[in-house]
């Protein structure tokens, strides 16, 4: 007899559990949808300032940056994403000085670990939250961060932007 009652109680608890499940989906059918509609919401989309998806080197209006080409970022990068190519020049007072020639960075290789920005002694680079970077060509991802003809900023001036912290 017990097996018969088990049969029916099993049937009814089963049906009850299924109906409970359906009640949840029914409720969700009418709740507000949570979808953020990119790209339709491109104007209103807020990405956190701290989000890292592109390394940049801020230049001021005189086309000057703060990079001294010391190479600490290159040294700290775990997988060789950054290449600082410097050249030696002679200043007016006859001293030899290292200045930045090319600051190359491979977006397609970067892991956004933030070590370069953390260790940069002169706050010359920072991460931006511009995330629209997809391209058709792998070479396009290898970028040069310093602008053409840019110079090192005079140290006495305040840095353009404080570090993201």
């Amino acid at each position: 007899m017990s097996s018969v009652s088990k049969y029916f109680s099993g049937l009814f608890t089963g049906i009850k559990s299924l109906l409970f499940g359906m009640s949840v989906t029914w409720k969700e059918l009418w709740t507000k949808k949570v979808t953020r509609q990119y790209p339709e919401n491109r104007d209103t989309l807020v990405i956190s300032d701290r989000w890292r998806s592109e390394l940049t080197m801020p230049h001021d209006e005189n086309n000057e940056h703060a990079c001294t080409a010391c190479g600490i970022c290159e040294m700290n990068c775990p997988n060789g994403t950054i290449k600082v190519i410097s050249q030696m020049i002679e200043t007016e007072d006859g001293k030899k000085k290292k200045i930045l020639d090319k600051y190359q960075w491979d977006l397609g290789m970067c892991t956004f670990c933030n070590l370069c920005v953390l260790t940069c002694p002169s706050d010359a680079i920072k991460f931006e939250n511009t995330f629209e970077n997809a391209v058709f060509n792998r070479e396009k991802l290898k970028q040069q961060l310093n602008h053409e003809g840019s110079k090192l900023r005079d140290k006495k001036k305040e840095p353009l932007a404080p570090k993201a912290e």
């Binding site: 499940g21 359906m22 989906t25 029914w26 969700e28 949808k33 949570v34 979808t35 509609q37």
Partner: protein
């Protein structure tokens, strides 16, 4: 021929006018031939359009169940999404599979489509919109719809793929089980209605749907039919032959391009077919809601064309099936067989006897309350 002015929106008006026009100018044979071709074209169009609408509807409704929006970038509200899919899939390469059973592999989609098309033909879409109306309609539908499973079985068997093979085995077990339940559930209603012809059955439900007429017994049969019908269409939670998370794509793993498209199409069409048969058998088909004695009300209801009634009722059942599909996890093969052989089948056997007793001892609603219905 007198046009029926009380129902100006019926398609019957158009068809009978067409028929009359053709007959006045052409001999009998040509009229019939043209009409057959027209019927074929109409079915082709209806088949495609309904499938496209259903695919769109399912994707949208699924999304709403899942707190998202679903397709909304192709056309207004994503309405053209399934059209885009169709264009894409039509022009996709069809891959030839090595060491497969070429003939069966090629034939399987035919079974699938022809089976669903043949069942599709037996659906009463509206007054006069009813092609195949055998006097053994219910039996015919049961028989023809089961052909589709052969398509699944063949696809799985012929693909030379192990996932497909397991899918085929599962579909075999599933089919032999649920075919029975569906048949018995329909039989219960045949007892009640006293006919197997769909048109007669629908007309008989003018004032009282079979669902209400046989009350307890009908309700049980209705639920069992929905479950087993749902299972026959291989849709979740009964999608074992496909079982994405287990068998990658199950029986149609090796099908590409349009051959796969046919399976995709037939899946949705079968869902529609099951819902529309349930509508015809249990919910009065294309009959509007009518109450004896309420002449004005009946008039208004009659004014709404019969196909609207049909599609409305079917849509409710389709929604129900989607709701179930997106609420539950997939059954395991032994759960599936348990459900059939230990629950549905014994209940069905008892239910059919119960229905006979109800009918014979005058306990159906029409017998109990003769003035009302």
């Amino acid at each position: 021929m007198i046009l029926n002015y009380s129902q100006p929106l019926e398609v019957t008006n158009l068809t009978s006018w067409l028929d009359a026009a053709l007959r006045s100018s052409l001999p009998e044979f040509w009229v019939l031939l043209i009409e057959f071709v027209l019927v074929g074209v109409a079915f082709l169009a209806a088949y495609a359009v309904i499938a496209l609408i259903l695919i769109y509807a399912e994707r949208k409704i699924t999304a709403f169940f899942q707190a998202r929006f679903g397709p909304n970038r192709v056309g207004k509200w994503g309405l053209l999404q399934s059209v885009a899919d169709m264009v894409k899939i039509l022009l996709k390469e069809i891959v030839k599979i090595n060491r497969s059973d070429r003939f069966l592999f090629f034939a399987a989609p035919f079974f699938m489509i022809v089976a669903s098309m043949a069942t599709f033909g037996a659906i009463a879409f509206g007054k006069g919109l009813h092609a195949i109306d055998f006097n053994i309609g219910v039996l015919y539908v049961t028989a023809v719809s089961s052909l589709g499973i052969i398509g699944v079985l063949l696809a799985g068997w012929s693909s030379n793929n192990k996932y497909s093979m397991i899918g085929a085995m599962r579909s075999g077990a599933q089919f032999v089980s649920y075919e029975l339940s569906a048949g018995f559930a329909l039989m219960t209603i045949v007892v009640l209605a006293g006919t197997m012809q769909f048109s007669t059955m629908i007309e008989g439900q003018r004032y009282c749907w079979n669902l209400f007429n046989g009350h307890i017994s009908s309700l049980i049969a209705f639920i069992i039919y929905l479950i087993s019908g749902h299972a026959e269409t291989n849709r979740g939670p009964f999608d074992l032959p496909e079982a994405e998370s287990e068998l990658t794509a199950g029986y149609h793993t090796e099908y590409s391009g349009l051959q796969f498209g046919f399976y995709y199409l037939a899946e949705y069409l079968n869902m529609f077919i099951i819902a529309s048969i349930a509508t015809a058998v249990f919910l009065g088909g294309y009959m509007p809601i009518q109450v004896k004695g309420w002449v004005a009300f009946n008039g208004i209801m009659e004014y709404i064309p019969s196909y609207i009634w049909f599609f409305g009722k079917t849509a409710v059942l389709i929604f129900l099936s989607l709701w179930v599909r997106w609420s539950f996890p997939r059954l395991r093969i032994d759960q599936l067989l348990n459900l059939e052989w230990k629950y549905l089948l014994p209940i069905n056997l008892v239910n059919i006897v119960l229905m006979v007793i109800l009918v014979l001892s005058g306990l159906t609603l029409t017998d109990l309350l003769p003035g009302w219905f």
